[in-house]
């Protein structure tokens, strides 16, 4: 199989690589770019652990080939906060104990990010539907729901400060 050249923006930086056409985006991120925050839980598009943002939309990196991302903009969990300075969504998950083993968490954060951008004041029901594409075995989702509500409030406050 001959390799194919891809050029894309990953977390704001330009990345160019030659890859096998069959290489999954999840394996590209983890193996080629060392961005191991994106986790692989099922490799058939159900669990949502590998969710990343492709041109701002949440996609499952295990259902996308790396070559399909040519020329596009990709964001992974590594683009959010750092351990010293968490993103408001990450802070909210910490405050509400919205994670246990943390394996599904990056995918959930990347699902929640565009959801809250679209719906800044979601109801509990809307939150549950929004995260229903992400499986978590540890938390029973309750504190994730709380965390998303908390994150929404934090983001609204931040937006008001900017507007104000």
């Amino acid at each position: 199989m001959s390799d194919t050249r891809v050029s894309l923006t990953v977390n704001g930086a330009l990345v160019e690589r030659s890859v096998e056409p069959r290489l999954l985006l999840s394996d590209f991120l983890r193996g080629e770019l060392g961005l191991t925050g994106t986790h692989v839980g099922c490799e058939h598009g159900v669990c949502g652990a590998c969710t990343v943002l492709l041109d701002g939309e949440a996609v499952r990196a295990c259902l996308v080939f790396a070559v399909q991302t040519d020329g596009r903009d990709l964001r992974t969990v590594e683009s959010l906060g750092t351990t010293d300075s968490l993103h408001p969504i990450q802070e909210a998950f910490r405050e509400e104990h919205g994670l246990q083993c943390g394996f599904c968490t990056p995918g959930i954060l990347m699902s929640v990010l565009p959801f809250l951008a679209e719906n800044p004041s979601p109801t509990e029901d809307e939150i549950r539907h929004a995260i229903a594409g992400n499986l978590c075995r540890c938390t029973g989702y309750q504190n994730i729901v709380k965390a998303v509500r908390n994150a929404a409030a934090k983001l609204r406050d931040a937006a008001e400060e900017v507007d104000g």
Partner: protein
């Protein structure tokens, strides 16, 4: 314990979260080493058969393939694995061990059993090459169900045993037959519990790296038990234990199956790395995990309860078959848990319990969150429900009437538990928790008014309320080393790896409490044998109890050293000193010295350390409980059943839980949440479907349904705290609790919703399909006759 309250009992933020939230935490699959190879396994497509030939030549020719190994290639390294948990010394028991092997030799006994392993430059090539390995298997007749295993003419899975009997155990107390003869009512039923997966979001994985210059082996493993894995690997490979380092880094959920030792992959990867002199990685994929990772819960019970006219339990008799799968490396832990947990929080003076564990051509069974307890709770709670109904008695009342009273503890059940110790309940006070649950769910109002009102609207809504105990925190022991560093930071090294339970925080709280430092200044290392090399692992809801107590003890010892040294430095009496804010200070003054400075003084470069003392502010302590501590809980739910579609909606879910003293209420509550969600999956969504050839029909998350945020309801959790007298912290375990009673609970609630239709729920799991059959199936009962 002394001085509680500064950190102990507080819902502090978790130390581990920043790393996990930012994707910077190291999971096994994140380990990348120079020159690292990748392994893929060739697994049996058949459930039972004789291997005729394995042809690896095509695979070896594929570019990028370095090696392919079959059982023959392992030579003297091919060993049958150990019996992980030897059976308790129960009189007259039979146990026929058949432990797993690294690669199948001669015969395959379940779909997914590894036959060969391919090693290649990358995972894609390894998987391609695994497809190139040609395996010819002569099929044998298959034992595809628990009940057929001992039937006349059944194929025999392990020829050296001669039948499919893995174990036979009888435990009795009192005289059941005599009790039965005095009973006002005897209820007999047949109960079935089926199989599900643990479903941790991270599959298993291993990276092994042999360094020929250092002569050291490093293994990153998704194990719940890094230290026993280290010890076992050293023995298998002929290395010193000090030459092997096993790291269980962040683990993406455990729930039991990651406790299994040894999986074939765990035995093989280190050996391969030593053979090839390069690091090698294997990461299980999801489909593979449905066949290769252990699972649980098939049992079939024939049980009866004898009760007096006032509902007093006179005795219980139970016979059950337990499916252990193709091998039985985990001994009797699961069925003995069932046998013991069936007794619940009740006084059952006459108990006659017998089980046979059987081999089937299915994936191996080892504990999964609850570990046999679900089945026991299902049986006793269902029997009580039916007895109450037939006596015309309130179901809460029949439970309350049979509870052990607080003055009866410690209570001796006169049978042996899984850890070979007698089944003693250390402490308990059950009625207040039941009262609280009755109150929170609005029991009286619901059954007196609300249910009928809803029924008038044509809605089928029912309530369930059940109780259970969980034996937690068993031995043998765990340890911890606490060190104050010159920076003032505190290091805690211990051996119980974390799979998300908050070890980096809860144990830090226990230590911070004694040393007067901030929890965020306590750095816990857990799961790396280089940092701490004595211990067993994270299982049986024992981390907080056993390892937590060891942390507490070593923190007390360090505290003593700190106070002695500070007393000298500050020229003050020890009893006038307090530890707070990282300082030792004369109470009520500014006169103090930091822990960091004391650590420096405790490790001088010149001068003399007094005879009989040790340098540094460091101590190691161990804790081994005499026996497990028994936690308790009450779950209640209100559920609506749509009789047309047989879909359910859980309207309310209440938990009142008693796990003794609580180190961190936020973590405890969340453990319960996760357990309940797992239990809901087990009860209504998750079931492994095998056909008569032993083929699993739903080996993906498309077909095997883990509950999502839309299925799991909001849970209301309340606590009671009955301290355990068996450890200095007074804690009991909680990790498995939430999952245990959900099947029994859903069964009662659904029956209540369908009252008058004759539906009796005697099996788990249900599903919309199965419930539909029960509702519309001409009254035919799922599990035998009444």
């Amino acid at each position: 314990m002394s001085g509680g309250g500064l950190w102990f009992g507080k819902g502090v933020l978790r130390n581990e979260d920043p790393k996990l939230l930012t994707g910077r935490a190291l999971f096994v699959d994140d380990v990348r080493l120079d020159g690292m190879l990748h392994a893929a396994f060739v697994r049996s497509d058949l459930a039972h058969g004789e291997i005729v030939s394995v042809d690896t030549s095509d695979a070896l020719q594929r570019e990028g393939v370095l090696a392919v190994y079959t059982a023959e290639d392992l030579g003297a390294y091919w060993h049958e694995g150990p019996v992980l948990v030897p059976p308790p010394p129960i009189e007259g028991h039979t146990f026929n061990p058949a432990t797993i092997v690294p690669l199948a030799k001669g015969r395959v006994r379940h779909v997914g059993e590894p036959i060969a392993v391919v090693v290649a430059e990358n995972a894609y090539v390894a998987e391609d090459a695994a497809q190139d390995v040609w395996v010819e298997i002569e099929p044998l007749d298959v034992v595809s169900s628990t009940e057929s295993a001992l039937a006349e003419g059944s194929p025999v899975i392990h020829e050296h045993i001669g039948s499919n009997l893995a174990a036979h155990v009888v435990q009795r107390k009192g005289d059941y037959e005599a009790a039965r003869s005095e009973a006002a009512l005897v209820v007999s039923r047949r109960f079935v519990y089926d199989r599900g997966v643990s479903g941790s979001m991270e599959n298993r994985g291993i990276v092994a790296s042999w360094d020929p210059r250092e002569e050291e082996l490093t293994v990153w493993d998704t194990t719940q038990a890094p230290i026993p894995i280290r010890n076992g690997l050293a023995r298998l490979l002929g290395l010193l234990e000090s030459q092997v380092r096993v790291v269980a880094p962040f683990i993406g959920g455990g729930f039991g199956p990651k406790m299994m030792m040894f999986y074939p992959e765990e035995v093989l990867l280190p050996w391969i790395s030593m053979q090839l002199g390069r690091p090698v990685k294997w990461i299980e994929d999801r489909q593979e995990s449905f066949f290769a990772t252990t699972m649980e819960r098939d049992q079939v019970h024939e049980a009866e309860i004898a009760v007096a006219s006032d509902g007093t339990i006179l005795g219980v008799k139970d016979f059950f078959l337990h499916d252990t799968g193709a091998y039985d490396p985990y001994g009797l832990t699961v069925p003995i848990n069932t046998q013991c947990t069936l007794l619940g929080p009740y006084r059952i003076d006459n108990y006659d319990s017998e089980f046979k564990a059987v081999f089937t051509n299915r994936t191996v069974v080892t504990p999964v969150r609850g570990a046999g307890r679900q089945q026991g709770v299902f049986v006793i709670e269902r029997l009580l429900d039916i007895a109450a109904r037939e006596l015309g008695m309130d179901r809460v009342e029949i439970r309350r009437r049979n509870f052990l009273r607080p003055d009866e503890f410690p209570y001796d059940h006169e049978i042996l538990f899984q850890d070979s110790a007698p089944l003693y309940y250390d402490s308990g006070d059950y009625a207040p928790a039941l009262d609280k649950a009755v109150e929170l769910i609005g029991y009286r109002d619901f059954i007196d008014r609300e249910k009928a009102r809803l029924l008038d609207e044509g809605r089928r809504v029912g309530l369930g309320i059940v109780t259970y105990v969980e034996g937690t925190g068993i031995g043998p022991y765990e340890g911890a080393r606490v060190t104050v560093e010159p920076s003032g930071s505190v290091r805690v090294a211990m051996g119980v790896g974390s799979q998300g339970q908050g070890h980096f925080t809860a144990f830090a709280q226990v230590v911070a409490e004694q040393l007067g430092v901030d929890v965020s200044d306590v750095h816990v290392s857990t799961g790396d044998t280089r940092d701490f090399s004595w211990g067993t692992g994270t299982f049986a809801s024992r981390g907080a109890v056993v390892a937590g107590s060891a942390c507490h003890e070593s923190a007390l010892r360090v505290r003593k050293k700190v106070l002695e040294l500070a007393s000298e430095a500050l020229e003050a009496d020890e009893q006038d000193l307090e530890l707070a804010g990282g300082m030792a200070r004369v109470r009520g003054s500014d006169h103090g010295i930091s822990l960091g400075e004391l650590a420096v003084r405790a490790n001088p470069l010149r001068g003399a350390v007094a005879p009989g003392t040790e340098p540094g502010l460091e101590a190691t302590a161990y804790f081994g409980p005499q026996r497990g501590s028994t936690a308790f809980g009450v779950h209640a739910m209100i559920v609506e059943v749509d009789p047309e579609t047989a879909l359910i909606e859980i309207k309310r879910y209440v938990v009142v839980h008693d796990c003794g003293r609580i180190i961190n209420p936020v973590i405890v509550e969340a453990q319960v949440h996760g357990g309940v969600a797992h239990g809901i999956g087990d009860a209504f969504y998750e079931q492994l479907h095998y056909d008569e050839d032993g083929q699993l029909m739903n080996a993906s998350f498309m077909d095997y349904l883990l509950p999502t945020a839309c299925e799991v309801p909001h849970m209301e959790v309340a606590h009671e705290e009955t301290p355990s007298p068996l450890n200095p912290l007074g804690v009991k375990g909680v990790g498995e609790a939430g999952a245990i009673p959900v099947g029994a609970l859903l069964a009662q609630a659904v029956e209540d919703a369908l009252e008058g239709t004759g539906v009796e729920v005697l099996e788990m799991p249900l599903s919309p399909n199965r419930l539909f059959e029960l509702i519309h199936g001409s009254g035919e009962r799922s599990g035998g006759e009444g």
